[in-house]
Every structure is written in structure tokens, then in C-alpha cells.
């Protein structure tokens, strides 16, 4: 428990000899030569991997992070605009292809863990400041003046004494020959003019006029389209395939058996969809056929009541049973498997050629895609070119490269570029879910109303074994592929044997409150049902558990749930601040209409504390929310409006899971398939959401995920306040129905 996710990834990267990001662009004559060669080839000044200055004054920003809605294109552009001294409308952004130089996220080019803003804050500004200093030096040389007399503004270098200006475009060629500065000065945070403003999203225009190119919109010459008929039970293989009729249908090119299903390849996707029902397949019985989620749930529940592996043991939780005059509280919580359900189904376009592969993918991890496809084709990682498209949502699902390898297999079979598009049902049923959980808690409050003991046993399906194969990508390419594989399997083994802490399942499990006697236990469940990361993964269930149970302790102590939390947060001033601000903004303590309750929750994830207050009621047995207040401290808010949007999105994502989402399977068959049986929040469910951002000049921290964890417990606590009904099982709508049928 001393290791968090970030530390773990760092150690993993270092263990493999991966390099952490250096932010100096200065240096070697090689870099200088590359800038000149690039100018000769393109006529543009490209001082480093982040930006290019064209002679027509356009600034092109290459974004090495995947834009999946979190606004990273906009914040990269803002960082560049700030240090380079240009207007936002002078900048064009695009996704950078996979490249070693972009493997800055623990050895990977990857977007996840709410790291984009934090990881980019320094390097991107430094890249732009480097360009700025080179442009100034070029202008000063042209004018034969001291560079210190020059400044930049709105895309020009200005020499004040003589009031002369030169546009960046005019300086692009001369700047190419300027020595790269070693340590260009960065603006002080207090002097920011662009960062911290609610600048319009740079990708908004193309997303409202329909021209944005997502993975599904990729057009490649000679492209064919494919779908894959996946087995009804994951892991099954096709024993026999009868595709004779399908092959006769319009546009059908081939029907190909793959380890993961049967692909129907056609000139057009609609042709493949029409032909698919005519393919008859007999499937094998895979191990998963023996398993149902109900069994997993029951085993998890039974296990949770026993003792687990100790992760932390402070003081003596034995006092819960041994000491007199304590009020003991016991509760069990549960949360199900969950799919990510991004609006854009998984898809990928791949062209496997003899010695190289070209990929167009909506992926969160281009490096992992390179590694996975290199492994399939037996090529080197560098032979796999990955173009990253816009992502129609990610939420962790697009960290897994399964769909890209599937597309590569089909392209390999038909010898043409193939665009594979999964159906919505494929997207829902083909696995990699947020793990199922069962959580048992015991706690005690003393006569003075203080929480004195807390014991938490989390039983959940462990994530690391299923993501371990992708860990091979962490190891640098000069490691032979076999060695990379062995190393990743070693880590896999360490995870299995319990030698590595299960940081993902236990993230956010430690209550932030000062409780002297605290024990955390964990027991992994292992099933063949594949699981992976999900928006805020461990925090998504641990936040619910911790913030629900502290509420139960507060009520047991007869205390106000806000004040009860507050008195235990002396050592956590940042959490206390967001909690206080949320209570104040939400008019905590003010009377509410009959039947309406308030719930509060505070949780820190990805270095960002967030507190929320939800007002809710039960109307004819249905949960109805009336107001949500959210307070976040994410360091400096690069773009406050995008921070607000991420909080709104995280809250709604969390509430979809809290209210109504669940993946279940019987005899290995996943029972949900589309948005009608895996429903999400809709507009009518969404109350007004107010987001307040704590003023800060600290470096930015994550915002993509931290809005999520407090939402479910704040809602459960509000329903308890409103009705006395304690919701401990997600999804709540099902929990309520069960409670009602028991009455």
C-alpha cells in the first residue's frame, strides 16, 4: 500500500530500462541537423517534436496524447500559445503518430490515468519557449541588435528601440540556423495570459460540422471493410464455418476464421453486415462456459466476510470486538462488472504489408498497439506505423489493443487495408470490464462520537494479470521481443503470486480520515472474464465504499455527516478545503423541500481532491436528483471550462454506473448487448451541476477521472438522508427494486 499506481509504473519502466522524460530540447548537433533537414524537406521550422512554424505563420502542434474528449488538443495549443506568444486561432493541432520520442508516459506513448495535463505542462511549454527564443535570436541577427531588446507578441518578434517587427513566418528559415537554447526561460505562472482562460475548444468546430475524423471515418485507398462474428462465449473457437451462402452475396471478398471469431470481409461495411447472418458457425465450449457472474458475486461475498491479505494495519482493529462502549457498524457493499460503452464502437484500419504495417486507430496507447501488432506479425515495433485518429470516447477500453490485432489478422489474411468495425453488441460483449467487487466493512465510533476503528476487506477481480501482456510495451525496443515477453510474463507471475501489491484494486481504499485503528485487506478473485482499466477504476468502487461507510459511521455517531468528516481531516488540508467549499456552495444545513435529502462525499484521485454534494429524493420509488455541487482542486486549471466539463462528465459517468449499469453473464454468455439493456444517464436524469474550481498556482493535476468517485456515494448518502434507505449495491435502481420486493 505504500506504492501508488504512478510509483508502480515508474518502477516498471525503470526496471525495464525505460527512460523517463527529459525536457531539454538542446543539445546535440544531431538535433540541429534534423531541424535543417526538416526545413529543406518541408520549408517549415520544426524546432522539436511538439511544434512546427510554417512560413505562412501557421503554428502546427503535434499532440502525442490521444484526444478522446478530455480537451488535450486545446490545452496543448494553449500551452504553446502562452509561451510562443501567438493567438489560439493561429494554431492547428493534430494527433502525432506513434514514435519513440513520444513515449513520455512511463515509457509509453499513452493517454490514461488522468496524466495528460500534468505530463505536458512543462515539456510543451519548454518546446514553445525554445521556438520563441530561436525566433527572437533570428530576428536579432537580422536586425543586428541585442536579442534582449526584442520581445514577442501575437506572432511577431518586436524590437522596441527601433519599433521594427518580423512575423514568425518570415523568421522561420533564419531560425533554423539558430543554436538551440539550453534552458529557455518559461513564463511565471502569475504572468499567464492564455493558460487559465476559458478558451474555446480547438476541436469544437470540426465536431459540430461533422468533419471530425474518428477511427470509423478513416478513408484509405483500396480499403475493404470487415466485421467479426465473435463467439457467444468469449474464448470459444469456431469448430466449423459454413459461409457458402455469404460468399455469394454482393461485395463479399472473403470469410476468414480467426482465433477470436470469424471475419466477414466486403467492399463495403453494409455488405458485410448483410452477409453476416448467413454465416453458420459451430463454436467450441470454452472454460468461461462454466461460469456465471452470480457465482462470482456469491464467492466474492463469502470471501469478503473472511480475513484477507493485509495491505495496511495501523493500531489495533481488534478493539472493535474487545473494547466496551463502542457503537459497532457493519456493512457490505457490492459493485458489478461494467463495460466502458464509448459511443464510437471499437474499430481499426490496418494494412499489413510484407515488411511493414500501417495502422489508423482510435487508441489510447499507440505504443501498445505497435507492440501487439509487432508480436502478431513478427516484425519490429518500429515497422508498425500507428496514426492516431480522434477517439469517440476512451474511458480505459482503448488501452487494450485487442481490436487492432484483430484488424491486423484480417488484413494479413486478405492482403488489403482493412477497416474492422465492431457492432455495439461486440463492443458490449467482448470483454475487458471494470472488475466486480464485494466489500465488507466493520467500524466503530466511541461515546464521544469519534470514529476509532475501521476495517475494510476488498474482494475484487484483479486487473493486472489481464493487462500484463500489454506491459511488454513498457520495455524498450532494444530489448529483444522474446525478452520483452518474458519480462512481462514475469510481472504477470509476480501479480499472480501476490508479490506485487494490487495497486489498481486498492487505489483510493485508504480513508483520508484520521482513524487510529485501521486495517485494509484485499483478496483477489481470478476468473477467465477479462477485465481492464475503467474511468477511475479502483477509485470508482473504493470511493463509493469509503464515502458511504464514513456516512454510516456519522449517522451511528448521531453526527452531521459533513461535520463528522471535517473533524477527521486535520491532516488533509486540501481535502478539507474542497469539502468546506462544497458544503458552503451547496447550502449545507439549509432546509430542503419535504422528501429531498442531501449527501456529501469527498475523495482524492490522481492527485486531485474533489468534493460533491447531491440533492436527491425518491419519487414513487424512483431516484430523482435535483442539484449537484462539485468542488475541485486540480492545481492551476489550464482551461477552467474544460475542467468544468470533465467534472460534469465524470459525475454523469459515475452516476450511470451508480444508477443502472451492470454487466452480467450466465454460463459465460454476457447478457447485455446494447444501450437498451446497458443504459446510461440521459438528459432527463441529469440535474443542474455547479462546478467550483479552487484557485491555485500549483502545477496541474488530473481532471479526467477525479470527478467520478464522489458521485455515487454522494447520491447514496442523499437517498439515505431523504428516505432512510441505504443503497449499498450498485446499480442502485436494481438495489431499490430488490429492497421493495422484500418489503
Amino acid at each position: 500500500m505504500t506504492m501508488n499506481r504512478r510509483d508502480f509504473l515508474k518502477v516498471s519502466a525503470l526496471a525495464g530500462g525505460g527512460l523517463l522524460m527529459g525536457v531539454s530540447f538542446a543539445g546535440c548537433s544531431g538535433a540541429q541537423r534534423r531541424i535543417q533537414q526538416n526545413f529543406e524537406a518541408t520549408g517549415a521550422f520544426r524546432p522539436n517534436m511538439y511544434l512546427t512554424i510554417r512560413r505562412d505563420d501557421k503554428i502546427l502542434v503535434d499532440v502525442e496524447k490521444s484526444e478522446m474528449g478530455q480537451g488535450i488538443w486545446t490545452s496543448h495549443a494553449m500551452l504553446v500559445a502562452e509561451e510562443l506568444g501567438v493567438d489560439m486561432d493561429q494554431i492547428e493541432t493534430s494527433s502525432a503518430d506513434a514514435a519513440r520520442k513520444y513515449q513520455t508516459s512511463f515509457g509509453l506513448q499513452q493517454t490514461g490515468g488522468s496524466t495528460s495535463a500534468a505530463e505536458s505542462f512543462l515539456p510543451v511549454r519548454k518546446a514553445a519557449a525554445t521556438a520563441r527564443e530561436m525566433l527572437i535570436a533570428a530576428a536579432a541577427a537580422e536586425w543586428k541588435v541585442d536579442a534582449r531588446e526584442c520581445s514577442v507578441e501575437k506572432g511577431v518578434v518586436h524590437h522596441q528601440p527601433s519599433d521594427r517587427t518580423l512575423r514568425y513566418g518570415e523568421l522561420a528559415e533564419a531560425a533554423v540556423y539558430v543554436e538551440i537554447p539550453d534552458d529557455p526561460p518559461l513564463k511565471d505562472i502569475e504572468d499567464f495570459e492564455v493558460i487559465g482562460t476559458a478558451s474555446r475548444r480547438i476541436d469544437a468546430r470540426e465536431k459540430v460540422d461533422g468533419s471530425a475524423v474518428f477511427g470509423i471515418d478513416v478513408e484509405v485507398p483500396d480499403k475493404v471493410c470487415a466485421l467479426c462474428i465473435h463467439p457467444p462465449i468469449m474464448g470459444a473457437e469456431a469448430n466449423s464455418v459454413d459461409a457458402e451462402k455469404a460468399r455469394q452475396m454482393t461485395g463479399i471478398i472473403d470469410v476468414v476464421s480467426l482465433p477470436c471469431g470469424v471475419a466477414v470481409v466486403a467492399e463495403k461495411y453494409w455488405q458485410a453486415r448483410r452477409a453476416a447472418p448467413s454465416v453458420n458457425i459451430e463454436w467450441s465450449e470454452p472454460p468461461l462456459a462454466e461460469l456465471s457472474s452470480e457465482q462470482v458475486r456469491k464467492v466474492a461475498a463469502t470471501t469478503a466476510r473472511k480475513e484477507g491479505r493485509k495491505q495496511l494495519d495501523d493500531g489495533d482493529v481488534g478493539i472493535i470486538d474487545d473494547r466496551d462502549n463502542l457503537t459497532v457498524v457493519e456493512a457490505e457493499y457490492a459493485s458489478p462488472y461494467l463495460a466502458h460503452a464509448p459511443m464510437e464502437p471499437q474499430n481499426c484500419t490496418v494494412h499489413v504489408r510484407e515488411n511493414a504495417v500501417e495502422v489508423w486507430a482510435p487508441t489510447q496507447s499507440p505504443t501498445v498497439v505497435q507492440e501487439a501488432i509487432a508480436r502478431f506479425t513478427g516484425m519490429a515495433r518500429g515497422d508498425v506505423t500507428v496514426h492516431v485518429t480522434l477517439l469517440g470516447g476512451g474511458f480505459g477500453r482503448r488501452l487494450v489493443p485487442d481490436f487492432t490485432v484483430e484488424a491486423a489478422m484480417i488484413s494479413d489474411a486478405v492482403g488489403r487495408p482493412v477497416q474492422l468495425i465492431w457492432s455495439r453488441e461486440d463492443d458490449t460483449r467482448c470483454g475487458y470490464y471494470r472488475p466486480i467487487n464485494h466489500n465488507a466493512l466493520r467500524g466503530a465510533v466511541d461515546d464521544d462520537g469519534n470514529a476509532v476503528a475501521w476495517r475494510y476487506h476488498n474482494v475484487s477481480q484483479t486487473i493486472l494479470p489481464d493487462v500484463a501482456p500489454t506491459l511488454a510495451a513498457i520495455f524498450p525496443e532494444w530489448f529483444p521481443m522474446a525478452a520483452r515477453r518474458i519480462k512481462s510474463e514475469t510481472m504477470h507471475g509476480l501479480v499472480h503470486s501476490g508479490s506485487l501489491p494490487e495497486i489498481l484494486a486498492m487505489e483510493g481504499a485508504k480513508p483520508p480520515y484520521k482513524i487510529d485503528n485501521l486495517r485494509l485487506e484485499y483478496t483477489p478473485i481470478r476468473t477467465p472474464m477479462p477485465v481492464c482499466l475503467w474511468r477511475a477504476v479502483g477509485h470508482s468502487f473504493n470511493g463509493f465504499v469509503v464515502e458511504s461507510f464514513v456516512d454510516e459511521l456519522a449517522h451511528a455517531a448521531g453526527a452531521d455527516p459533513y461535520l463528522f468528516r471535517r473533524q477527521m481531516l486535520d491532516d488533509e488540508p486540501e481535502l478539507l478545503e474542497v469539502l468546506d467549499r462544497a458544503a458552503e456552495a451547496a447550502d449545507w444545513g439549509e432546509p430542503l423541500p419535504d422528501g429531498v435529502g442531501r449527501g456529501i462525499a469527498v475523495h482524492e484521485s490522481f492527485d486531485t481532491p474533489v468534493a460533491q454534494v447531491i440533492e436527491a429524493s425518491l419519487e414513487n420509488g424512483e431516484i430523482r436528483m435535483h442539484r449537484i455541487v462539485c468542488v475541485v482542486n486540480c492545481g492551476i486549471a489550464l482551461n477552467p471550462d474544460i475542467v468544468r466539463a470533465q467534472m460534469e462528465g465524470g459525475i454523469i459517468f459515475g452516476l450511470s454506473a451508480a444508477l443502472r449499469q451492470e454487466i452480467t453473464f450466465t454460463d459465460g454468455r454476457v447478457e447485455q448487448g446494447n444501450f437498451d439493456d446497458y443504459p446510461m444517464m440521459t438528459m432527463i436524469d441529469t440535474p443542474p451541476i455547479e462546478v467550483h474550481i479552487i484557485d491555485s498556482t500549483d502545477e496541474p493535476t488530473g481532471v479526467g477521472e477525479p470527478g467520478l468517485p464522489p458521485a455515487a456515494p454522494a447520491l447514496a448518502n442523499a437517498i439515505y438522508d431523504a428516505s432512510g434507505v441505504r443503497l449499498r449495491d450498485m446499480p442502485f435502481e436494481k438495489n431499490l427494486a430488490k429492497l421493495r420486493s422484500r418489503d
Binding site: 474528449g69 469544437a204 453486415r273 448483410r274 464510437e344 480522434l390 470516447g393 457492432s423 466539463a645 459525475i651
Partner: protein
């Protein structure tokens, strides 16, 4: 068969039962209309057929007949954005953006029927258009903003 999309007539050679969505995307190259669910439950594929919001993923192209189809690409006039698209920009509505073509098409029909919609009317019209990023509060605000803009435009026209 012939089909009229965004004011132009096209000849397409496809069976009648092919969903309009795929004809737009694959035969006409108009990829702004998105595939989300394939069974008319998410709204990402929403287009207008004779001015009415329709789910193109479940609308056989053969049923379109001589009715006019409008997609996100044809919503604005003379290259300018429609007031609803403009309001979307102002309100920083899109996140991933995938569902937004469908949301915008749905909102345009709402505002034609109800130029000054109440919250309940917005909820009723928009709650079958799903957004996994959770842009609902911004969509609601943008619809109200667009309603104001459209009302002003109407007033200007009335005055002139």
C-alpha cells in the same frame, strides 16, 4: 435508386433494405452521421427526412423515396453554421464529439417545433440522444442559447 441529400440528387445502387446510415457514409462519403448502436436507441445517426428527426441506422434507404434528407453536412446555409451549431461552439459543448451530429440534428427539430422550449420539453425531446461524455448540461444550455438567437433572427426578419 435516386435519393436527395442536402439538396442534391444522387443515384445509388444498393438494395432497398440497406439502412440510410450506411448509404450516407459509404456510398455518399458523408461521414458526419455516426454509427452508435444499429437499433435506433442512441441517436448518434440522427438525420432529417423531410424535416423530421429520423434514426438513419434503422431507416431503410428504400423507404426514403423522394423525401429530402438533411445531414449535419447540409445543416448550415452557404457554408455558415446553423444557429444551433453556433450555440454548440459558444457553449463548448462537445467533448469526444462522436454523438454531437445526432444531438444537433435532434435539437434543430425541437426548436422548429418549439421555438422557446421549456426544460421539460428539452428533456423530452433530447433524452433519447445519448452522450457517454455527459455533455447534457451544456446541450441544454446551448439549446436555450440557440432559441434566443433564432428568436432574434425571426424578429429581425419580421421588422424588415
Amino acid at each position: 435508386m435516386k435519393i436527395t441529400v442536402n439538396g442534391s440528387e444522387y443515384e445509388v445502387d444498393v438494395p432497398d433494405d440497406v439502412p440510410l446510415l450506411w448509404v450516407l457514409r459509404e456510398e455518399l462519403g458523408m461521414t458526419g452521421t455516426k454509427f452508435g448502436c444499429g437499433k435506433a436507441v442512441c441517436g448518434a445517426c440522427t438525420v432529417h427526412i423531410d424535416g423530421k428527426a429520423r434514426r438513419s441506422c434503422s431507416f431503410p434507404v428504400g423507404d426514403v423515396g423522394d423525401r429530402a434528407v438533411t445531414t449535419i453536412e447540409g445543416l448550415g446555409e452557404d457554408g455558415a453554421l446553423h444557429a444551433v451549431q453556433q450555440a454548440w461552439l459558444q457553449g463548448n459543448v462537445p467533448q469526444c464529439g462522436y454523438c454531437q451530429s445526432g444531438q444537433i440534428m435532434q435539437a434543430v427539430t425541437l426548436l422548429r417545433a418549439r421555438p422557446d422550449p421549456t426544460d421539460d420539453e428539452i428533456d423530452a425531446a433530447m433524452s433519447a440522444s445519448l452522450c457517454r461524455c455527459g455533455t447534457y448540461p451544456r446541450i441544454r444550455a446551448a439549446i436555450k442559447e440557440a432559441a434566443r438567437t433564432l428568436a432574434e433572427e425571426t424578429n429581425v426578419q419580421d421588422d424588415s
